[in-house]
Structure formats: C-alpha cells, structure tokens
Amino acid sequence: MVIRLELHRFTNVLASVFVGARDELWPLWQQRHFSQGQLSQFSFYLCAVLGFFMLGLWACRRHDTQYLWFGASSLCWSVPMLYMAVSYAPIRHDWFLVLTLIGINFYAVTAIRFLHRLLKIELPNVEGWHLSLITAVSFIELFASAKLIMPLSLLADMISLIVLLNVLRLCCSAAMCTNSSVPPAAIPGSGLAPTCSLHFR
C-alpha cells in the first residue's frame, strides 16, 4: 500500500494508520468525527450567530460595550471553529492558519475586555498594552516561518493568560473585600471602579 501526502507551507502531518475490519473502525471514526468535526461545526454556527446578534444589540444600545466585546469575542472564536470543522481551506491554507491564530489572539483580547466590562473593572492601561502586544505578535505571525509560528502563538497566549490571571486576582480581592468592611475601591491598584460591585449570586 502507498499513501501520498501533499507537502505545503507550515506543518505537514500524517498520524498513525490503522487497517482492519470496517465494523471495528467505523465507531472509532464516528466518535472522532462527532467530538472533533461536528462539535466544531456546531460551535462555529453558534458563535457566528451569537456574535452578530450581540453586535446587533450593541448597535441598539451603544453605551453597553459589554455587548460589543462579547459579540466581537464570539466572532473571533468562530474563526478557529471554522478551521477545525472544514475539510478543505476556503482560501490558501497558510493564510487560513495565520488568520485562525490571529483570530485566537484577538478572541483573548475581546473576551478579557468583555470580562472587564462585566465585572466593572477599569484598567485602560492594561487593556492598551494587551492590545498593543497582541497586535504586534499577530503582525509578526503574518510573516513568520513554519518553525516560528507556533512559538509566537504560544507567546500571545501567555500574554493573554497573564492579563486573565490579573482579572482573577482582582475578583478574589473583591470577593474577600465584600466579606470584610473594606470597600473594593479602597484596594490600592485594584483598578476597580469606585462604584464597583462584583455580583456573586
């Protein structure tokens, strides 16, 4: 038996191969197809519809930027879900992969901004730095080599993770604060608005 694999830009892969009775391999294929293919397809449609719906809501209520950032994050997440669901690239694959990685990068930016709005955390400097760094990394990803693309993607994830951990730290601080008599806004450097109220219901 001979298998031919086409080689293109970025990582080329052929995983392990199994040969056997169709009755044995069919359930394996079905399970993987469901957990990887169909769920990704469902997530893509869900994120795309939700994203446009939220942007529509934001258009009606411009002052509620929660809708804007939630809609934007949903649309950003729909890009990697589309990448996972399709069996062939709608555009040249290397650009599709770069677009997917950039989609993930900006998903983190928009999702964290949504969290900030939801929890009423005001950290414009952190948001500005986060956006600048992610934009810079995403720009480099456009021209990165095959060996550099994944480390760059990991770097973007690390940056976003640090910002997300900061959100969690503030949440924990505020949760402890609500148990004591100290108002949340009194925590130095917390970035919590004076009218801050973290709702845990």
């Binding site: 038996m1 001979v2 298998i3 031919r4 694999l5 086409e6 080689l7 293109h8 830009r9 970025f10 990582t11 080329n12 892969v13 052929l14 995983a15 392990s16 191969v17 199994f18 040969v19 056997g20 009775a21 169709r22 009755d23 044995e24 391999l25 069919w26 359930p27 394996l28 294929w29 399970q31 993987r32 197809h33 469901f34 957990s35 990887q36 293919g37 769920l39 990704s40 990448y83 996972m84 669901a85 399709v86 069996s87 062939y88 690239a89 709608p90 040249r92 694959h93 290397d94 599709f96 080599s145 095959a146 060996k147 949760a175 609500t178 148990n179 845990f200 219901r201």
Partner: protein
C-alpha cells in the same frame, strides 16, 4: 438560605451541568477501541516533487509514523509512505483509518487508487482535525 460566596461555583446548577458535559466529552473518545485492527507504524518514506506514483526501486528509507515536518515553501512536493499489509483473514470489508493528516492524501493499494481526502480542484485538504475512513475494495487485494 444564602449560599456562601466561595462555594457558589460548585452549587450553581448550570456550572455543574457544563462541568459534567465537558467531562463526558473527554471520556467519550477515551472509550474508542481499535479492536483487532492493525496499527501501521513502520513504513518506508520517499520525498519527491513529482505527483506520479514513484518506482518501487526508488530511494525509499525506513520511517516510523507519525510524520511531522514544518516547511516554508508553499508547494513543497510530496511525501510517499509505503508498507505491506497482511492479506485479510476473512471476507470482511477492510478499511483504512487515519486519525489526522495535513495536507491532502491519496491512497493506492497494489497500484490501484482506492481514495483519499476530497477537496475541490485547486483547494488544499486540511484534515488534521477530521479523521479519514476509506474502504479498501476486495478487487484491489492480491
């Protein structure tokens, strides 16, 4: 009774539901069994720039799957994998299963093309996340 704030995450019904759902999705693929199927790991590899089936006397070298190679060229050629299959013991329908592949693949059995990833002409197949199952027709076995 008011729920304590630090236990909210574990008592909230939707959160618990999503946790169970995530757990179930993790468990489902773990139960997948390959049964008596043969896992092909040791193959012979040949890298060419030609799309035509290479000669059996070409410079094939031993290789152990999985194959993973980062490249910077847009059209970098083809990687060929050759291996021998034991004849099927029974008349059961034989199939070929590949977990993931990137990019498009084509499969030949005894010189007869038996299938591959289907993408429209000019498009690149991206099956790294989608498994592939191919029937191996009885006529191709010798």
């Amino acid at each position: 009774m008011r729920i304590k704030k630090d236990t909210w995450l574990f008592t909230n019904r939707p959160v618990r539901f999503y946790c169970w759902l995530l757990l179930a999705l993790l468990v489902v693929p773990a139960h997948a069994q390959v049964g008596d199927s043969t896992a092909i790991r040791r193959v012979e590899l040949l890298e060419t720039t030609e799309a035509a089936l290479p000669a059996s006397t070409a410079d094939w070298r031993p290789f152990v799957l999985p194959y993973q190679k980062p490249l910077d060229r847009i059209d970098a050629g083809y990687a060929w994998f050759r291996f021998t299959l034991p004849s099927p013991d029974s008349d059961e329908m034989q199939s070929l299963y590949i977990n993931n592949h990137l990019y498009g693949i084509k499969v030949w059995l005894n010189g007869e093309e038996v299938g591959g990833s289907d993408a429209p002409p000019g498009r690149q197949a991206t099956g790294w996340n989608l498994p592939l199952l191919l029937r191996l027709p009885a006529s191709a076995w010798r």
